[in-house]
Amino acid sequence: MTEGEIRELCETFFDAYQDKRVDILERVLADDCVVWHNVFGRETTKRDNLSRYHDSYRGQRRRTYDDRIVNTFHDGFVIQYQLRGVMTNGHKGSLWICIVARVRDGQITRIDEYMDSSKFAAWAGTEEAKP
């Protein structure tokens, strides 16, 4: 894939996440895609992630993936961004996140996500929030 194609794939993925377009996520994630999170320290599958997508929005009115800084390398990209959310009670929170992704044939094959779970309570607007 060219640098342009990789950048476009990255933006398509995050726009789809933002716009709740699971049909596009289904297309851009390879069937064998693995998603790893530094907070949980375990890998999950494409199916795990897409089946829980709507649940992940529980309590949230809106999410935007802002201030994206994308750099590409020969088989992937790294994106640094600020995830902003508006909860159903009006609370606004944000998280700084970095993702390193692998790509192949127009699809994402691996996602490694890095964030700070100590910010989750402030993100959700509740001290009870846990990773």
Partner: protein, 133 residues
């Protein structure tokens, strides 16, 4: 991209090797004048000088730290490194966390380093300073 790729990889390893062996001069050789380090835990920028000073302070509570399992990918003006930081304290206890750093490189030196980690994994370790300090 071949030569740049090799140079950026060498710079990445030079920095992390210098931190591992407690070599402030080695760290300084990797940083451009005016270099800044940004840390997702605090959201603040710190200078290269402060980063190097914090590295020395950290040794008071740490016997050893290693940056293992480094996965490095490069791009035209920088690199991203994913790694496991393992810290051994003076009492022998050991903690590890997974982190990621994105570097912007100009003229062979790091001008900006952005580090992302989960501070809850630090436990008794410092929670407000970057893993690369």
């Amino acid at each position: 991209m071949g030569r740049v790729d090799t140079e950026h990889r060498a710079l990445c390893h030079a920095l992390f090797d210098a931190i591992e062996r407690e070599d402030p001069e080695g760290m300084a050789r990797c940083y451009a004048p005016g270099m800044t380090l940004w840390f997702n835990v605090t959201g603040e920028n710190v200078s290269g000088e402060d980063t190097i000073a914090a590295q020395a302070a950290g040794r008071r509570i740490q016997r050893r730290r290693t940056y293992d399992d480094r996965i490095v990918n490069t791009f035209d003006d920088g690199f991203v490194v994913q790694y496991t930081l393992t810290v051994v304290l003076h009492d022998g206890s050991r903690r590890s966390l997974s982190a990621c750093a994105v570097a912007e490189v100009h003229d062979g030196l790091i001008v900006r380093l952005s580090e992302y980690l989960d501070s809850s994994r630090f436990g008794r370790l410092r929670t407000t300073e970057p893993a690369t300090s």
